[in-house]
């Protein structure tokens, strides 16, 4: 079994064991629930303004789970061992990101369906919104890896991570929200895909560089 696969499988089971799936999902649904509470339940208003807000909830949910991603490994010494692995640290970081997408990103995208319906998105647009959320989550996580890596040594760094990654969440939120509200969908989806590819290409390198510094 390659080191990549080993790490991927272990992360899945560790995240699963720590109830990793339910917390961000609950957070996502909870944040989305606040939307009609803030705007009022008027269906016409929700139909125009609601669906893009799914993206705010998704961004918040990913952000809230980033803090411990590398911090735990730094604190218990696992990071040192990862650096001595046969596989390059960049590949291990990518594996971690992939596992994170499976446990947090994909369920969020699926939960995006009922949440968008509740926010009055048209039914025929739901598959597209779910697909876009899945792609967007990859972009969020790619950036999030860097945010989590540079703040791994900071105690209670949750708010700091949020501040650091928020501006970089802007492009996926812009294109994702455009898809959710049905504007210029095709172009937006392609660019969103580009954002996700770029973030997964650059994120692991920057994050691994930061983690090497953390271990110094």
């Amino acid at each position: 079994m390659s080191a990549f696969a080993a790490l991927f499988r272990r992360e899945l089971s560790l995240m699963w064991a720590s109830g990793g799936l339910m917390t961000p999902l609950g957070y996502f649904v909870g944040a989305a629930t606040l939307t009609p509470l803030a705007m009022g339940p008027d269906r016409a208003l929700l139909a125009t303004a609601g669906p893009p807000l799914v993206w705010i909830a998704a961004a918040l949910a990913v952000m809230a789970t980033l803090e411990r991603l590398f911090q735990a490994d730094l604190e218990d010494g696992s990071l040192d061992q990862m650096m001595l692995s046969e596989a390059p640290l960049e590949a291990l970081v990518l594996a971690k990101g992939a596992a994170f997408w499976c446990v947090v990103g994909a369920p969020l995208a699926l939960a995006g369906a009922p949440v968008s319906i509740a926010l009055q998105a048209p039914i025929d647009r739901i598959p597209l919104i779910v697909a876009a959320l899945g792609v967007g989550a990859a972009a969020f996580i790619g950036v999030g890896l860097v945010g989590a890596a540079v703040t791994a040594g900071v105690r209670r760094g949750g708010v700091l991570i949020a501040l650091i990654v928020l501006p970089f969440f802007a492009p996926p939120v812009i294109f994702g929200a455009a898809i959710a509200s049905g504007e210029d969908v095709e172009a937006a989806f392609l660019i969103l895909l580009g954002c996700a590819l770029g973030a997964t290409a650059i994120g692991p390198f920057a994050a691994a560089a930061a983690l090497r510094l953390q271990a110094e």
Binding site: A5, S13, A17, D76, G77, D80, E86, R212, E216
Partner: protein, 205 residues
């Protein structure tokens, strides 16, 4: 396993004029030593003298402020070194067997789990999650990673921390087997580990 294939006799760890810093703080200056294949290097020195920094630098985690470390006839440090530091790198929810299996995957080794756990005395705990292990058992599990892949250099930071007399005897046996196999072992210690060191180095004042 390592026993059947001894390491190269020509492998040498050469440390020349090493200076170490933590932040702006000077820790040690002008450290030099040569550890040939089969050497056991004992590091001594008080708290804050820089033993851990020295070991981490040799393991390749940090760069020395001055001086060089030469790994002669050895692969790059990341592939020729095992490091066991103060932290055991265990995850509370993971069982002993899962931990060993996982790191065997990361070190790409076809290690025999029963043999490895036998040598560190954890055969009976193999299905226990790490969070219920005693301090000594957790340390044994951390040390078991040394046996997963044959790597010529062992870098150990107070390996006997938390271990009883039996555990210390186990470490002594592991180190002896390793050096007899042409391996190089470096250990920061407070009291002698057992095997007579070929080099004793005092770090700091």
């Amino acid at each position: 396993m390592g026993q059947s294939h001894p390491f190269s006799k020509s492998a040498t760890l050469r440390v020349e004029g090493l200076s170490l810093r933590r932040g702006q703080r000077q820790l040690a200056e002008g450290l030099s030593f040569v550890a040939p294949a089969g050497a056991f290097v004992e590091l001594r020195g008080g708290n804050g003298a820089g033993k851990t920094t020295l070991l981490r630098t040799i393991a390749g985690f940090g760069r020395p402020a001055e001086g060089t470390i030469v790994y002669e006839n050895l692969a790059e440090p990341a592939l020729s070194i095992h490091y066991v530091g103060h932290l055991n790198a265990l995850k509370g929810s993971e069982t002993v067997a899962a931990h060993v299996g996982y790191w065997a995957g990361l070190f790409s080794s076809p290690a025999d789990m029963v043999e490895v756990l036998g040598r560190v005395g954890l055969e009976r705990q193999r299905d226990l999650p790490a969070r219920v292990l005693s301090q000594g058992q957790a340390r044994r599990l951390a040390l078991s990673r040394l046996l997963l892949a044959p790597r010529p250099i062992w870098v150990l930071d107070e390996p006997s921390a938390g271990l009883d007399a039996q555990g210390r005897a186990m470490i002594a046996k592991l180190i002896e087997a390793h050096t007899n196999n042409n391996g190089i072992a470096l250990a920061a210690v407070h009291e002698p580990l057992g095997p007579s060191p070929s080099i004793t180095l005092t770090v700091g004042g």
